[in-house]
C-alpha cells in the first residue's frame, strides 16, 4: 500500500534547561548574579585583556559543565555575529569587528551562566534579598521564566494558523508580500496571548494571596562557605577588570 511516510523530524530546541550536574547549580543565586555582572563588566576591556578574560572564562564554564550549552547559544547567533563582523570590518576596522563579536559571544555565555543554573524562584529570591520589593522581584522572576515560553507560544500560534489554512509554507519571493501580511496572523495572537497570560497570572497570584504581609519564603537563601569563596574570587576578578577597563573619561 503506497502510504505516505514521514520519518521522525527533530524540532530544534535552543532553550537553556537547568544543568543539574553543574557545580554552580547549588551555588547561591546572589553569587551567580555577581558572577554574571562581573563577566558583563569584561565587555569594557580592550582586546588583549578581553582575550585573556575569555580564556579564563572558557575554562571556568568548562569546569561548571556549561561550555557546550554556551557554545550552542553563541552558535545560534552565528549569522548575526557574521553580519556584524563584516559590517565593522568594512565600516571601521578588523580590530573593532573582533572586539564586538567577542563581546556578544561573552554576553551569550553570561546568559547561560545564569539561566542554566538558576530557577526563576531563586532569581526572584536573590533580588528580594537584595532589597528589591517582592512584587518587582516576583515579576522579574516571571519574566525570566516566560522567556522559555515565548518560543513555545510562537510555535503554537504558527501551527494553529497553519491548521486554519492561513499560513502557506511556500518560500516563493513572489508571495513575499502575502507572507509579510501573514505576520499579522502571528503577531496579534502573540501580543494578545502575552497580555492575557500576564493578566491571568496576575489574577491567579492575587487569588492565592500574593502580597500577603506575612508571606514566608519556603527556603530562605543562605550563603555557605563555598558561596563566600566564590564571591571572593568574583570580587578579585571584578577589581582586576575595573583596573584594566577602558572607562569613559569623567
Amino acid at each position: 500500500m503506497p502510504l505516505l511516510s514521514r520519518g521522525s523530524k527533530k524540532q530544534r530546541d535552543y532553550r537553556p534547561t537547568l544543568v543539574e550536574s553543574s557545580p554552580l547549580r547549588r551555588a547561591d543565586p546572589r553569587v551567580k548574579l555577581a558572577m554574571g555582572l562581573t563577566a558583563s563588566l569584561a565587555v569594557m576591556l580592550p582586546l588583549p585583556g578581553l582575550l585573556v578574560f575569555l580564556a579564563g572564562y572558557i575554562g571556568f564554564m568548562a569546569w561548571a559543565r556549561l561550555l557546550p550549552m554556551a557554545v550552542r547559544q553563541a552558535w545560534r547567533l552565528r549569522w548575526f555575529l557574521a553580519f556584524l563582523f563584516v559590517l565593522d570590518v568594512f565600516l571601521v576596522n578588523w580590530e573593532l569587528a573582533v572586539l564586538i563579536v567577542l563581546r556578544l559571544a561573552l554576553l551569550a555565555g553570561v546568559f547561560i551562566l545564569l539561566f542554566a543554573t538558576t530557577t526563576p524562584r531563586e532569581l526572584s529570591q536573590a533580588l528580594e534579598s537584595l532589597r528589591l520589593p517582592y512584587r518587582y522581584a516576583f515579576s522579574f522572576g516571571l519574566a525570566f521564566q516566560s522567556l522559555a515560553l515565548l518560543d513555545d507560544e510562537w510555535r503554537a500560534i504558527y501551527e494553529a494558523q497553519r491548521s486554519r489554512g492561513i499560513l502557506r509554507l511556500d518560500r516563493d519571493w513572489r508571495t513575499l508580500l502575502r507572507q509579510v501580511g501573514d505576520l499579522i496572523a502571528l503577531t496579534v495572537p502573540a501580543v494578545v496571548l502575552t497580555t492575557k497570560r500576564a493578566w491571568s497570572i496576575t489574577e491567579s497570584a492575587y487569588a492565592r494571596g500574593f502580597d500577603a504581609p506575612h508571606r514566608r519564603p519556603y527556603q530562605p537563601l543562605k550563603l555557605t562557605r563555598r558561596d563566600w569563596l566564590l564571591l571572593a574570587g568574583v570580587a578579585v576578578v571584578a577589581i582586576a577588570i575595573l583596573g584594566q577597563a577602558r572607562l569613559p573619561a569623567l
Binding site: 500500500m1 503506497p2 502510504l3 505516505l4 511516510s5 514521514r6 520519518g7 521522525s8 523530524k9 527533530k10 524540532q11 530557577t119 526563576p120 524562584r121 516571571l142 521564566q145 515560553l149 513555545d152 503554537a156 500560534i157 501551527e159 494553529a160 494558523q161 497553519r162 491548521s163 486554519r164 489554512g165 492561513i166 499579522i184 496572523a185 496579534v188 495572537p189 494578545v192 496571548l193 492575557k196 497570560r197 491571568s200 497570572i201 496576575t202 489574577e203 491567579s204 497570584a205 492575587y206 487569588a207 492565592r208 494571596g209 500574593f210 502580597d211 500577603a212 504581609p213 506575612h214 508571606r215 514566608r216 519564603p217 519556603y218 527556603q219
Partner: protein, 476 residues
Amino acid sequence: MPPGLKAEALAFTYPGMLDRPLAGQFGPLSLQLAPAECLHIAGPTGCGKSTLARCLTGLIPHLYHGQMSGTVWIGDLRSDQTPLWQLSEIAGLVFQNPAAQMLAPTIEEEIIFGLENLGLPKAEIDRRVDQALERFGLGPLSGRAPQTLSGGEQQKLALAAVVARRTPVLVLDEPLSMLDTTAAFEFVAHLADWVAQGGAAAVCEHRREYLQALPDLRTLSLDGRPELAHPMPALDFHAPEPRACRIVTKGLSVARGGRTVLHDLDLALEGGQVTAIVGRNGAGKTTLLRALAGLQPYQGELAAWVDGRSETPHLGLVFQNPDLQLFNASVRQEILYRLPDADLELYHSLIAALDLEHYQEAPPLLLSEGEKRRVALATLLIRRPRHGVLLDEPALGQDAAHKTLLMRLLGAVARQGQVVAFATHDIELAACADRLILLSPEGFVASGSPEQVLADHSAWDRLGLRLPDWVTPCPC
C-alpha cells in the same frame, strides 16, 4: 459565625459593554452560601458565571474596572473594603482556563506559591504539597513543568494548588471541564467530604450530573441571553464535490519531550462518520489529533485515501485553546479573513448553525470560551479543508443546547464524505458520535458504535475510566 459567602443585589457590567451583546455580565442577584453548603451556579454559555465567580472572591472590584453594584461579603469581610490577600485566605478560586493560571516552573512550586503566602513553615508546606500531589494523582508527574502537562493534568494541578490552601470557601469555575470522568468523580467525592467537614463551595459547571454526590446541592441559574429561543436553522453545508475520504495510519508513533506518547497505532477514520476519541488525562488524544493534522513529527505512515488514491492528509484542527487562532477585529472579519470570493451563503449558514449571529461585529477574543471555539470552527469550515476537520475538546464552555448544535453541524460535515473526529472528556457528547474510540497510553482499547462501546464495561475498566450511569447513546 464561620465564614461563608453572601451577595446582595449584586450586578456587574464591564466598561464599554453596556450596549453590546458580549459575554460576562449579569443583572442584580442575591445569594447566600453557608458553611457545609454547596451551590451550583448554572446558566448558558456567556451568561456571566465566570464574572460572578470573580465577584464572589473579590477579584472584582479589586482587579477589574466596571460598573458594580450591590455588596459581597466573604466571611464577615466586605469584599470592596478588604485587601485582596485577606479575602483570598477565606475564599479560593480555581479559574476556567488552567493553562493560563500556571505561574511556577514546576508542579511542586505551583502548589508551594500559595502556601508561602499563608506564611506556613517549611515542614507544613512539605506536608501539604505531598497530600495535594497524592490526592490529585500528580505524584508521578512530580518535577515536570506545568506547561508540559495535558489540559486535564493542568486542571488537577490548578485544583491542587487552591485546595492545598484550605480556605473555608471554594469558588470553582468549570472545575470538571477538562477532567476525565474518573478524575471528575474523584474530585466531586473529595469536594463532598470537604463540604461535609464544614467547607462551603460554589461551583460554576455545565455538567450538573457529576455534582449529584454533593450534599444538599442548591442551584442558582443565571439567565443570560435567551437560550437558543429561535428555531434551529436548516443547515446547508456542501463540500464542492462530495467524496468519501478515509484517513489511515499504520504503526504511528509519537514521542514528545523524550516520552513516547503514542506507540504503533493502526487507525482508520472513515469519511461520513463523526468519530469521538475518549481517554484518560494524558493518554495522548491531543497528540494524535496533532499528528493527523500534520503538526506533530511522527514515525510510521499516515495517508488520506480518496477514490482509491492516496493523498497527503489535509485536515483542519480546532485547537483546545482558541485564542491561538483568532486575531481579527470582528467575528465576521475573522471567518472571512483572506477569502476574496467567500461563499457568503455558507458563511450565513455557518454562523446560524453555530449560533454566532448576534456576535458578527463583536471582537472574537472578547467572547466566552465556548463562543470562541465555535468561531474557530467556523473559520476552518468556511475554507472547506480537503479531507475533514479535527476538534480538540469542542465541548469546553458549551452548554447542552450548543453541544447539540455542534453535533448537528459536525454530522452535516461528515455527510459530505469528510472525516470528522474530536477528542473529548465529555462522554455525553462522545455518545452522540457515530463511532467511539477509547484510547489509552498503550493503544486503542475499544472502537465501535457508541452502543457497542458503552456496553463494553470491561473496556472502560481496562481504560481506568468510570462510565457515568446516566450516559446512553444519543443520536443528536
